[in-house]
Amino acid sequence: MRHAPVGMACLALLLPSCGGSGSQRSEITVLAAASLTGAFTKIGADFEQSNPDVTVRFSFGPSDGLATQILEGAPADVFAPASPKYMDQVRSDGPGVTDQAEFARNTLAVIVPSDNPAHVGTLDDLARPGVKLVLAAVGVPAGDYAREILANAGIQKGTLANVVSNEEDVKGVVQKVLLGEADAGIIYRTDVTPDISARVREISIPDGVNVIATYPIAVMNGSDRAPAAEAFVRFVTGPGQATLRTFGFLPPS
Amino acid sequence: MSLVVDVEARRGHFTVAAAFEAAAGETVALLGPNGAGKSTLVATLAGIHPPAGGRVDLDGRTLDDVVTGRHVPPERRQVGVVFQDRLLFPHLSAIENVAFPLRALGVARREARSRAADLLARLGLAQRADARPADLSGGEAQRVALARALIREPRLLLLDEPLAALDVRARTHVRALVRRELIGFAGVRLLVTHDPVEAMNLADRMVLVEDGRVTQIGTPGEVRAAPRTPYAAELVGTNLFTGRLERLEAGAGRLVTSEGDVVVAWPPGIDGALEPVIGLLRPADVSLHVRPPEGASARNVLAGTVTSVRVEGERARVRIDASPPVVADVTLGSVERLGIREGIRLWASFKAVEVRVQAI
């Protein structure tokens, strides 16, 4: 009789996994770039409201890491990286995709802590010796874009010498600037969300050197929730656009 | 050079108070049963356990004075201690152990080693200089501990039960060595022991400690002649009764003790009843009978059971649990003839005049 509670607990743990097949609800897994965290969370909630029989589960992270996960066999129904490069990788080296569409664009900006300890006013100031600059790591789209911008501006040498940390995703860069540890960071404009805008100062990057990031979205081949996944993709390119706009994303070209 | 002690040391709920003096070149034995407080006194004199009261002076220098708060730490006392458990440093060899006090003083390594080697050789341990304490025999370890305590030529040498852990053969050998070293040692020596033979053998004077108090101080001869407590009496191998003396009849009195009464010859110089008094009875004056003796002139006939029979050479010391208990010395022949062994019932008899009574 003493074993009864233990038995009940085991049974309770097993139940969720028994629930899936045969029920009406389907669950889709969406792997999305870290920069989409705010926007996609809202879009997901809206989508679930208009599609009550679907649950959306998100996994946000650096696009390179997410692509690798998919190649390693992680279950994913939808993939939305911050660069076409990783969609291509998944398409050629991985399971392949269908219904690929470009759904948003983004540009980058420099942020500094609100007290601006290093007195950074322009992009060129980042090359000043002693400025503690944080970027996303090489391979992470935000990191690659940032380096492209610095190359475009011709200040690569000075700025790369100022890099004190390569963060695993763009949110890490935001964090270091918010904490006041970094003097400056290069992130997406959309990362300056309302709740942090009071604590950081945004410095715009001249259009001539800035990069436009294009965000593709697609359904993974072999997903067994294809209808729901396709519905989600259509939602993102349709009703979800308004949400993307409020979060600061540019419309697809 | 001399040691003047008048202290009270406390360990938990136990207090030991002792006052005595020892002169340079004199070996004083601190003698007492286990738990009497001897080791506590050693720790206090060594400086490890500060006293709760009183003072200690060595060669005119105050080592401890509770009133003024003065306490000289052990490393500055110039005291050499041979501990009961030896406490040799396990990670050092014998010669390194002996050299330790010199190295602590700042003596150069080579000189310290050479002096240690000399001392070890004098104690017959030249071959064992590089051995670790774990590999030494009991007697060897004891000698290393002695060398380690002596090498700095301390002013006070404390030997805490130096022979207790040794077997009989090693004990004799080491005792002779200790004797020889003590002869050459110029400072004060304090030997702590519970073995009366050791004390009588090595000491010039004895301080008896029982239950935290000093009960007698004197030379072995003085203590043997006039032991003051049952313990002292047992040490020197005699019977001791203590209690109240009452008149019994002409020339005789009764010594009333808590364990029984003894008829004694009335001692001179005492008028009426007196308390407390001591009655001493030599074990050799006690006769043993397997049946109650009849018509004997002995006024004391006590019945009891034999609790122990200890053979010492050609004699046997028999303990009888009577009222009061007595110890008798008989020949081995008697033991065999009467079939004396533990547990049998015997009668012990002795004359009133054989009990020597004195006021305390």
Binding site: V163, V164, E181 | F89, F100
Partner: protein
């Protein structure tokens, strides 16, 4: 004639085998998946060698710091009785039970540019700890410190203090006794503590990446390098992981064997 020996109960043998499997199977998995053809390239690459070198420097420094800081505390905990001793001992264990990332955040709160110690440090001396190699050492030392205190305290408790008393009567001052009696007798526990701290420091990730950041050559230790490589090249990351395991094993087995044998 020797009688039958007491054998180990069968159940224990089975469970012991399971226990061994528990720790060796993941290792076997790593070895099996390592891309041996590419492994040499990965392991000799600039980033890998830099990370290895940095890891060894950081782990060694952190272990030394932990032991040096931990010894006085272990002494106080084992030898003096003061009110709140149990609380202090509980606090010392804290970094062990804290998630390392939380530890990193805590270190930022104290030593970060806006931290209550880091802010004055920055204003007065112009020094910022974050993003430096010393920060990586600090993060690693923070998580391995409890191990040093635990090992040393256990060692101090097991010492026979009468030997230290004896040394005093032989003329040893407190420092002399500490140097020539106490510490030599503690050598096995000090070695054990050193090995434990080193191993823990070598594997530290969460606190390092949060407090020190991630920069090749300055703060990217092996675990951080593995994590970064995992995003794009999992097989290469496995090869690098194997290197981390191999280095740890070599040091642990080498040192422990030596000091256990001396007992």
């Amino acid at each position: 004639m020797a009688g039958p020996k007491r054998t180990t109960p069968g159940v224990f043998v089975v469970l012991a085998i399971l226990g061994i499997a528990f720790v060796t199977l993941p290792l076997a998995g790593l070895i099996q998946r390592t891309p041996w053809s590419r492994a040499a390239d990965v392991l000799t690459s600039d980033s890998s060698l830099t990370a290895l070198r940095l890891s060894i420097v950081v782990a060694t420094s952190a272990a030394v710091v932990s032991l040096v800081l931990g010894f006085p505390l272990a002494w106080v905990l084992s030898r003096s009785s003061f009110p709140g001793r149990r609380v202090v001992r509980g606090l010392v264990i804290l970094p062990l039970v804290m998630p390392p990332v939380v530890g990193g955040v805590a270190l930022l709160a104290v030593f970060g540019r806006r931290g209550f110690l880091g802010a004055p440090l920055n204003e007065v001396f112009g020094v910022q700890l974050t993003f430096t190699t010393p920060a990586a050492v600090l993060a690693a030392a923070f998580v391995s410190f409890p191990l040093a205190v635990l090992a040393l305290e256990a060692g101090l408790r097991s010492l026979d203090t009468r030997l230290e008393d004896a040394a005093a009567t032989l003329g040893g001052s407190r420092w002399y006794v500490l140097r020539w009696v106490t510490l030599p007798m503690l050598a096995p526990q000090i070695a054990a503590g050193l090995v434990l701290c080193w191993a823990r420091a070598l594997g530290e990730f969460g606190a390092t990446i949060t407090f020190a950041g991630n920069l090749q050559g300055r703060t990217q230790t092996l675990p951080l390098a593995v994590f970064e490589r995992l995003q794009t090249d999992p097989d290469g990351a496995i090869a690098l992981s194997l290197l981390l395991v191999a280095v740890s094993l070599a040091v642990i087995v080498g040192l422990r064997g030596r000091f256990l044998a001396a007992r």
